[in-house]
Symmetry: C2
Subunit: 376 residues, 2 copies
């Protein structure tokens, strides 16, 4: 089956020897791309939110390690030195954003491939190219990064299909932040669920939380839904309670930056408030997250590091001065929603229900790309 | 006892034959005043939020009717024509903002005095000036408006004193929107409670919700607390749940635009979400409202009209484009918090506890300025 062309370009891809990103800082005003030709440029792009969203960061982490490899090869490095450059890049990339687990997952996955290749291995060992030469290391790293990126889109389509079954015909769906194509390589997780519901003819109507302070909802989710032709209405974050009280929210669907082994969910600040409100009003609260976002090594939400970002994101917006100069501000970028408030977690392999410690482990262990790499 | 000079000028006063307002659209960048010389200018100032806040609107409504009277006198109107002008002005003023009951209360209070004076009465009937002449009507209206405004400050100080007893030593207090001096003639209601707690040496620390879409918290509350030297930290509205979950909120204190007879509270959009979160976390949720905000004629929250404002307030801020042009947006300006979520309601005459139908009626009936006017 051929898919129609996607109205939203790939968020991140490999092009002309660089990592090419949609510069999300400029949306919705302009659709521009930025080419990161060094790991430092990519780290800066990640820190400044030119690219964000857990699955997109996973792909960026992978491509970033591949970029380090190709840079080292261009500098004449040996195979072990290429692997060393990859390890250094992975560490720097992972340090840019502590909460989203996919970033570390993608970077480490490609690093592992590079390290195996540098030892002369992977399944190349069966062929003639078992020399562990530098170019083979870089090629193996890039192949793995491309594979991760392609898998992301396929996984999100599968996730969307599973999640669409949870969305009633004509449902009013509230979402927070941006868990769309722009938060992934393509298609989206929470918006993937909405998109799949729309593709199934269910005509969802979406409430888009603007998502202060960085306004990913107003800037990115509203832009995506407009491109997709899905009915969307922007609201200030403070309006969610009122909408639920007036019976205008049938379902809440959000993404995740990390899901702990017990089902606690770290996601954009404000998600937890929505979960409390949803429980208060008897509205189902769904989390859409590929298995790459599930971190069995993190036992529960208390163990998830929550990033604090610059207070200036709260004090100003779009260059406009909002608050008195010098006022103190706190800017927690994420919060943690306890598993008890989560109705279900939608993955590419199916829907996990409580008790999550069991259901999540079962899904992760079934995920092909979570299996250990073959080593020589 | 002489009070030290207030670091925050009067929000609204009578000056040079005009209604002089702090132009709150320009705060915190500039502290400027605007003189409204006609009722139309005042209506425009109210609609565009140059002045806002239920008690401030009560005073503005009163002054607006006085302004109509003085304008009619200057145009040579007879006493009955002055009263007619006052009635027309009251109707136009009341129509500008439907939710805050104080606006109607203040306008009608001064209109009633003007109408009585035009009939040659009030307690002037005992003296020699029972002629019902036009100037006497305007003078009586202005006297009543000035009395309402002065009473507002005195009431808020009393309210603050009662409320301060509910604030623990060193408490972390979350507030929403601006219920400070700028929402009143002076001193403030919710911020009056915090201010009185600070004056009592309790060193409160305040979380200031920025309060999208119009950012009254970021722009006005942060400015007031800075001027008052009270410890304040600005947060995005979405952070309240996270702060409560981490044990960093001891008390929530908000103002009100209207309190129904059963204790349901209309206040700035987002208040209801805070009340649900506070209940979920066992945090006391206090509403600070002078008795002029209590509307016994409104049985419950369902009967309170909730104003919708322009979607552009959500789409843009400070001239910055946030969302794609043409995206739909909904902008409910207020929400209703059911009485069951309100721990107590603090008034200038004391603290009302549930059941509110009884406790609120008792307070309102005890309020001297709520008693019927003496008629000749």
């Amino acid at each position: 089956v051929t898919q129609p062309p996607d109205p939203i370009p790939r968020t991140v891809e490999w092009a002309d020897g660089a990592v090419r990103l949609i510069d999300q800082r400029l949306l919705p005003g302009e659709l521009c791309f930025v080419d990161c030709r060094t790991v430092d440029e990519l780290c800066q792009a990640i820190s400044s939110l030119a690219i964000r969203g857990a699955p997109a960061l996973g792909a960026a982490g992978g491509y970033g390690v591949a970029l380090a490899c190709s840079g080292a090869v261009a500098g004449g490095a040996s195979a072990p030195a290429v692997a060393q450059a990859a390890a250094g890049a992975a560490a720097r990339l992972i340090a840019t954003r502590p909460t989203a687990v996919n970033l570390a997952w993608g970077a480490r996955r490609v690093l592992a491939v590079a390290e195996i290749a540098a030892r002369g291995g992977l399944d190349l060992s069966a062929g003639g190219d078992a020399s562990g030469d530098a170019e083979a290391v870089a090629r193996a790293a890039l192949d793995e990064a491309e594979e991760l990126a392609a898998q992301d889109v396929a996984d999100n389509r599968a996730l969307g299909h599973h999640g669409a079954a949870l969305v009633p015909e004509g449902a009013q769906v509230l979402t927070h932040c941006n868990a769309g194509a722009l938060a992934c390589v393509g298609y989206g997780t929470a918006l993937g669920v909405i998109r799949a519901a729309a593709e199934a003819g269910k005509r969802p109507r979406v409430w888009v939380d603007e998502t202060r302070p960085v306004l990913q909802g107003a800037r990115l989710t509203a832009w995506e839904l407009d491109r997709l032709g899905i009915d969307a209405t922007l609201v200030a974050d403070v309006m969610a309670g009122s909408l639920m009280a007036s019976g205008d929210v049938d379902v809440v669907v959000v993404g995740a930056d990390r899901v702990a082994a017990n089902g606690d969910v770290a996601n954009k600040i404000g998600t937890y408030s929505l979960a409390v409100l949803a429980a208060h009003h008897g509205v189902p609260f769904y989390v859409a997250a590929p298995t790459s976002t599930i971190d069995l090594a993190t036992p529960d939400g208390a163990a998830i590091p929550v990033e604090e970002r610059s207070p200036d994101e709260v004090r100003r917006v779009g260059g406009a001065r909002l608050a008195p100069d010098g006022v103190a501000a706190l800017n927690r970028a994420f919060d943690v929603t306890p598993a008890a408030l989560v109705t279900a977690i939608v993955t590419e392999l199916g829907v996990a229900h409580p008790p999550y410690d069991k259901s999540l482990r079962r899904l992760v262990e079934a995920a092909p790309h979570r299996r250990p790499l073959r080593t020589p």
